[in-house]
């Protein structure tokens, strides 16, 4: 045998990385993204699509610029996402009559249905990703993360 030492390399990830919350977050974010995609990809969706749909529904009739700022998605990417969503017949873009630079967005009936389906799938993904945590712990984690993100947004 070429390796008589005990156990090859059972744990190979350096402690120096496990100690950094930022490293942990990055790793988990990658995994979370993968899980959510797997749930959602069958409808040819990408991560931002869900965010945009949810934002439009919750904000009522926002402009593209409002979404760009609120979702921290770049304007150019927003155009692509909306092109796609409009192509599926889930979102309507119409010019604002009082300010003809702006596009006012709204969900179609089909868009609302799609959002509800996606919502359930994204929800299911949470259970997979955070299966290691008790409900109370998960809520605790969510609260800590929310505070970190709020602080980050505040500093712009």
């Amino acid at each position: 045998m070429h390796d008589p030492s005990p156990g090859e390399h059972p744990l190979v990830t350096p402690q120096r990385l496990w100690r950094r919350p930022s490293w942990l977050i990055n790793q988990i974010a990658g995994h979370a993204h993968r899980v959510v995609m797997q749930q959602v990809a069958e409808s040819g969706m990408r991560k931002q699509h869900f965010a945009v749909l949810a934002a439009i529904e919750e904000l009522g009739a926002p402009t593209q610029a409002a979404l760009v700022r609120g979702l921290a998605i770049d304007g150019s990417d927003m155009v692509a996402v909306l092109d796609d969503l409009e192509g599926r017949g889930w979102v309507e873009r119409r010019r604002d009559d009082t300010d003809r630079r702006r596009n006012v967005l709204s969900l179609t009936r089909a868009g609302e249905v799609a959002l509800a389906e996606l919502d359930a799938k994204v929800d299911a993904a949470q259970d997979v990703i955070f299966a290691a945590l008790e409900p109370a712990e998960r809520e605790q984690l969510r609260e800590l993360l929310a505070r970190v993100l709020e602080d980050q947004r505040r500093r712009v």
Copy 2:
């Protein structure tokens, strides 16, 4: 004025997203990545470089495959990172005599120095990213994240 309503859109990020830990994690991961990069980019580094350096130091003389598994970095990407690190004179790649498929990796003296510098910068970045949390809360967050990631790795 075209918008007499109170305050345009002070908070525009939908609650539906703030409720999902996976969304929060993704947002924070993006921000964290940006902060770390800002600290580190002046040396033309990328995120994976630090991870690879740290892993080599901590594991002693690992093979590329061990790093690929431990760091969850794809083999092809690993090649590129090591090419770069070797080009800087921070890492040595030599063929394993007992198994000539393998490359054994080691840090050079300059590599150790560079790692120490990076280590300090990454550490400083943590303070920026998680400034909203007390030390105890930060540790609590770290512990929760570690458990989630351990569970994820266990399921492979």
